[in-house]
């Protein structure tokens, strides 16, 4: 329920809160913008705007829409990452679901699905049990749909990741899989310090 307040408040309405002021004792009526109530069941969504650039390790437990730039590592293992049309990611990504409309240079790991839209530009490796790709998308790299591989299992093992830990090459795959050593994961420059430094572009 919204609780709207006008600037000309009625006598029955409580007086709006005003911040303390040093210079004047005049009371200032402020209109408070009603805060919308999140409907029950709705998920929180974080948005990184187009002017935002982040360098480092980004972890969270909510869906994320990237319209700016992220370099480093993104870990949203139970949530959805969306790379908007203007978004750019130079990072290694671990998420439940990944939707790409923008530019990605790096490896994408999804436990559920990766959807690549026609405006996407991807250079890297993607690993998910389900992948969809629109005609027109530009992709260079590899698409791994083998959810039984050691690489996939290790990517979504429930263990805390340490800062800089993911800069190591991934462990060898099991003997039941083909292959030798894995490729080096894409590591952003901010990854080793484990800190996020945000800056407006």
């Amino acid at each position: 329920m919204f609780n709207k307040r006008d600037s000309s408040s009625s006598e029955n309405q409580p007086a709006p809160r005003t911040p303390p002021r040093n210079e004047s004792s005049a009371t200032e009526h402020r209109t408070e913008t009603p805060r919308p109530v999140t409907p029950p069941g709705a998920k929180d969504i974080a948005i990184i705007g187009s002017s935002i650039s982040i360098n480092g390790e980004l972890k969270g437990a909510e869906d994320l829409i990237v319209q700016g730039r992220i370099t480093g590592t993104i870990e949203l293992k139970s949530n959805t990452l969306t790379v908007g049309p203007e978004g750019r990611i130079d990072a290694e990504v671990f998420a439940h679901t990944i939707l790409v409309e923008g530019t990605v240079n790096g490896d994408l790991y999804a436990s559920e699905r990766i959807s690549i839209q026609k405006s996407a530009r991807i250079s890297g490796n993607i690993l998910a049990p389900r992948i969809s790709l629109e005609d027109g998308a530009r992709f260079k790299g590899s698409i791994d749909m083998d959810s039984e591989s050691e690489k996939f299992r290790k990517a979504f093992e429930a263990k805390p990741s340490k800062p800089g830990a993911s800069t190591n090459g991934k462990a060898d795959e099991s003997t039941s899989d083909k292959a030798a050593s894995s490729q080096q994961p894409h590591a952003g420059p901010g990854q080793k310090n484990g800190k996020i430094s945000g800056s407006a572009a």
């Binding site: 969809s132 790709l133 530009r138 749909m145």
Partner: protein, 191 residues
């Protein structure tokens, strides 16, 4: 200048390659062309890794090194042996030296028993001057979009000519398709 034409054809040898083998072992595919949803769908629910080279896009953009295999497939790029190579119509746009280099590259990247699939312009003396795009459907269905530009003379490689140009590969099977192309399956020779 002609508009791009879309052709539906049947490529039985490709269809056989894409059929799930029933085995649950991991397979690595090297697609020299661009990735398509159709190919992804065919490989979904299998333990497959699809490596995309997108050489057709490079050729269409007239990149000078589009067939420089030593550069594009540098050592260490692929860390697992390849089981199947999909060449689509790209061999038609390679000269003898490039074919030989491709043969050597495949021999380096592929594992024992690897198969290489290709489509060669054979019946028609002319072909589009740029590689096309190919969209596998179900079974042997294959949709092809030709380049939008004019035609050039087709090299019309014969099985013997391809064998000579790619000494590491051996022609295993060929099939003439209804659009005048010839479908090839090569096997990697174990010397």
């Amino acid at each position: 200048m002609s508009l791009p034409t879309r052709t539906s054809l049947r490529a039985p040898l490709l269809g056989e390659l894409l059929e799930p083998s029933g085995s649950r072992s991991r397979r690595v595919w090297l697609d020299l062309g661009s990735v398509t949803q159709g190919l992804i769908e065919r490989l979904q629910n299998t333990r497959s890794r699809l490596v995309i080279a997108a050489l057709d896009a490079a050729a269409r953009e007239r990149e000078p090194d589009c067939f420089d295999f030593k550069k594009r497939f540098a050592a260490g790029l692929l860390n697992e042996p390849v089981d199947t190579v999909l060449c689509w119509d790209l061999l038609n746009y390679m000269n003898a030296n490039q074919l030989q280099c491709l043969s050597a590259t495949v021999a380096r990247l592929a594992g024992p028993g690897a198969r290489i699939h290709a489509l060669i312009y054979y019946s028609n003396p002319m072909m589009p001057d740029l590689p096309g795009r190919f969209f596998p459907g179900s079974g042997a269905e294959l949709e092809m979009i030709e380049g939008a530009r004019s035609k050039i003379q087709a090299l019309r490689y014969s099985p013997k000519a391809l064998q000579k140009a790619m000494p590491k590969l051996e022609v295993e099977r060929t099939l003439l398709l209804n659009n005048g192309m010839q479908e090839f399956i090569f096997e990697l020779r174990l010397d």
